[in-house]
Amino acid sequence: MAYYLRRAGNSLLLLLLTVSFVFIAGRMIGDPALNMLGPGASEVALEKLRRAAGLNDPIWLQYIRYVGNLLTGDFGVSYRFGYSVLPSEDLDEIGQPVIDIVIERLPATFLLAAVAMGVAVPLGVLMGVVAAAHPRSVADRIVTIIALAGVSVVQFWLGLMLIVFFAVQLGWLPTGGYGGFHHVILPALTLAARPIGRIAQITRSAMLDEMSKPYVVTARAKGVREWQIVFVHALKNAAVPIITMIGDELSALLTGAILVEKIFAWPGIGLLIIDSLTRSDLPLIQASIAVVATLVVVVNLMVDFSYRLVNPRIKLGTRA
């Protein structure tokens, strides 16, 4: 229990550091008011905006206000979203709260990550297990090559090839956009390639390790069937590195799907981050990164806690 509390505390600290870093970086990319109103804005309008947004206050006061607002769930309002065209000089229009914009994008990101991992985890683990159960066999070689290809393929190239083949030539699937299940297939496959490869590689090496351990001989001497030895005895012991890898790849999907979302015009968080960056929408950048960082921290916590479930020898929180 103490361990869980300590881990949760560490995670909160980590999140605070992340948002602080984003806050500081945001002040370093130029005058927020100028970024927002554009180079043609009048000095009067700029000053008005600065006063309204508190940009004239000392930086530490802005920081405290920012963090204080975060704690109440207030991430600020967007500089762009919610305005009819561009913010008028009167500032009578109010931007949309950025957190709403980010949360609106989450389902799309989750769907994409879930489908990609839903393909990658069973396939990668199965490939790795089959390869390790018959080392140096034809199956092992095929798995090794596929895994290497999955890890080293360039993502946007793969995405474009899939579009050319399945969308343009065959016309089976749409080239992009968000809608029914057929929209998710191509981007998910593009994203799954790397996790399939890495999960297969780590599973293979962890399983090879386990299959050479004495308890496997014990199980054979008991008359246990070979597939049961592989899937029941060895896989459970090989699970820790595999879960670590799955967590790693899931984090990468939640944060790094930018390119693929762009190619397939998938309205997820990655696309949002790109858009907010090109529009210098500082509050939106900050909110997206805070949310993504939270997701990564949560994934890592789940990975750590799941170690205990698969490996009874891991006693969380005790150091001898």
């Binding site: 004495p214 001989v217 014990t218 054979r220 001497a221 246990v224 012991n237 020898r313 150091r319």
Partner: protein
């Protein structure tokens, strides 16, 4: 004998394919196992004894071994006779764990670390008996009681790492017995265990044989275990059988030279009475009479006072120390010039930690270590570094303690180069002269450790420790991983070097018989403390502390005519020296029962 044999192996040959010619691990081996008997299969590493037993279970094929000749006839439960060489996988699965059970060397790794004891125990019952749920649980409990495990119901829910090594071996035995096999193969069942635990497990196996009537194939390198357990003995050497016969015949009247060498190389406890110093081991062609005895001086070399080392156990919200492992607690002893002091004890007794503290490989918490006229614990790092020329160490595992990427010359020369003692060709000459001392040819200088046998590696490790002309060597289980004939040679080498160079040894070991052979003085450690210390003869001929007595009693004797009384088969779990933080242990107080013979009070 009019009985039909349960197993009869004829002209068995097992090969392992390799790049060039196949390696023949077993050739032309044949013997029989009769119902209810214990057959001892003895030999050193590489003799093919384990491969033979694995061939019986068709387990060799998983490590690429092939039975290329011979037959392995086994009488099955229904009375039919099956040649296990040609049995198909389905038949084998039905036999493995059901009609033939197997017990392994290292119980901690033979069990699956992430499955509960109950699950692993009942697995065989589910497969072979179709038991499930309550009935499997009832039978599992019954099995745990049979192997005398305390609180069996609780054990079923536990994982292997929560149990001691001896307990794990009981579980492995229970697992092997689950389906009442007709044959039990025990492959070095006690080699990885402490001697008192070994005695318990051997007694348990003997008792189970009487209760179940199963035949037991006992594979071991330990002649004393064979003497205590076996009815008949088969001796293997380099894949072949050199001799077989009844246990008395083999131990009292061995006929083959190899058997004689093997028996001669084993130190027998109690054979040293009447001698004060160490004695060379008997090896082939040497009766052990020609002794250059190292007479220990009275001059102090090392004086250890109140040495204490604790390892913190951390926990809680802030990771504070919540308890301490009292690894070494208030240990004091003296090593004189040209003397061997043995630290003897079971695993976890703190003997290795004590050795490491003296070399300052670990920093002790308390105590004073005087080496010659230097107070070691007050020395600065650079001074301590130069002091290390005087004190060297030889570790247990010659495979792990040599760097596989370095030539032997460079490994042994490293200390000379570190201390900038010689340069150029003088380095090589010096290494060559040390090699000569430890009996290694000069041509080996450019070889790599992988080209050497275990005994040769340990000689190199000794050469490395001697290269700086030290006066003191810590030998931490230095011969424990070697075969007995090699062990005898290395021990003789160490004793010769002592006589020749005036060395002092701190000889850390768990093996009472070896300790008796090499020591001038002996200290017995238990739970971090020295419970008894004195001259070799006072410890072995007049032990006073209960723990010393039980340790000596547990050593299996080499005589099949004097078998240990059936020991109490229940197991006493060793209390671990973990104490809550802030615990103040009592200082060690000793009674002097005779001059220099001290026994811990209380």
């Amino acid at each position: 004998m009019t009985l039909e044999p349960l197993v009869s192996i004829e002209s068995l040959r097992v090969e392992f394919p390799s790049k060039d010619e196949p390696v023949v691990a077993v050739k032309d081996v044949g013997f029989e196992i009769f119902p209810g008997e214990i057959l001892g299969l003895v030999g050193e590493s590489g003799s093919g004894k384990s491969v033979t037993s694995q061939a019986l279970m068709q387990l060799t094929k998983f490590s690429a071994g092939q039975v290329t000749r011979g037959s392995l006839n086994f009488v099955r439960r229904d009375g039919s006779n099956t040649d296990l060489r040609h049995a198909d996988e389905q038949q084998m699965r039905d036999i493995r764990g059901n009609e033939i059970g197997m017990i392994f060397q290292e119980p901690m790794v033979a069990l699956n670390p992430s499955l509960t004891i109950g699950w692993q125990l009942s697995e065989g019952l589910r497969i072979h008996r179709g038991l499930s749920g309550k009935s499997a649980r009832r039978r599992s409990l019954e099995l745990l009681r049979k192997v005398r495990i305390p609180e069996p119901a609780q054990r079923l829910r536990q994982y292997p790492h929560e149990l001691s090594g001896g307990m794990c071996q009981r579980v492995v035995i229970a697992m092997a017995l689950a389906c009442e096999p007709r044959l039990l193969i025990a492959d070095e069942p006690t080699t990885a265990l402490d001697v008192t635990v070994q005695a318990e497990i051997l007694a348990l196996i003997a008792m189970l044989r009487r209760e179940t009537g199963a035949a037991i194939l006992l594979i071991t390198h330990d002649m004393a275990v064979v003497a205590q357990m076996a009815d008949r003995v088969v001796v293997m050497y380099r894949g072949q059988i050199v001799e077989h016969g009844s246990v008395r015949q083999i131990l009292h009247r061995p006929e083959h030279d190899y058997t004689r060498t093997l028996l001669a190389a084993v130190p027998r406890i109690g054979e040293m009475s009447g001698y004060s110093g160490p004695r060379r081991m008997r090896t082939a062609g040497n009766s052990g009479k020609r002794d250059k005895e190292a007479v220990s001086g009275r001059e102090r070399l090392l004086d250890v006072r109140n040495l204490t080392k604790r390892f913190p156990v951390r926990g809680g919200l802030l990771g504070r120390t919540i308890a301490n492992v009292h690894a070494v607690e208030d240990v004091s002893f003296v090593v004189n010039v040209n003397e061997t002091l043995s630290l003897v004890g079971e695993s976890g007794s703190g003997k290795s930690t004590a050795g490491n503290c003296i070399l300052r490989l670990e920093e002790p918490d308390k105590g004073r270590i005087m080496f010659k006229e230097h107070d070691l614990l007050s020395l600065s790092r650079p001074v301590m570094r130069s002091m290390r020329r005087e004190m060297q160490v030889v570790f247990q595992d010659p495979y792990g303690s040599l760097n596989p990427q370095l030539r032997l010359l460079d490994q042994v020369a490293e200390p000379i180069r570190n201390h900038k003692l010689e340069t150029g060709t003088a380095v090589e000459d010096r290494v060559a002269s040390i090699f000569k001392k430890v009996g290694m040819p000069r041509s080996f200088l450019r070889r790599y450790p992988s080209e050497l046998s275990g005994g040769q590696r340990q000689r190199v490790a000794i050469a490395r420790s001697l290269i700086l002309n030290p006066s003191f060597i810590v030998a931490d289980e230095a011969v424990s991983s070697l075969d007995v004939t090699i062990q005898a040679q290395v021990l003789n080498l160490m004793m010769d070097l002592q006589a020749e160079l005036g060395l002092s040894y701190l000889f850390i070991s768990h093996d009472m018989a070896v300790v008796e052979r090499v020591s001038h003085r002996v200290a017995v450690m238990y739970q971090g403390r020295i419970v008894e210390i004195g001259s070799r003869s006072s410890i072995f001929e007049d032990p006073r502390h209960d723990y010393t007595k039980s340790l000596l009693a547990a050593v299996p004797r080499m005589n099949p005519d004097i078998r240990a009384e059936a020991m109490a088969v229940t197991s006493a779990t060793v209390e671990s020296p973990i104490r809550p933080a802030g615990y103040k242990p009592d200082p060690c107080r000793y009674d002097e029962v005779s001059p220099d013979h001290l026994v811990l009070q209380g």
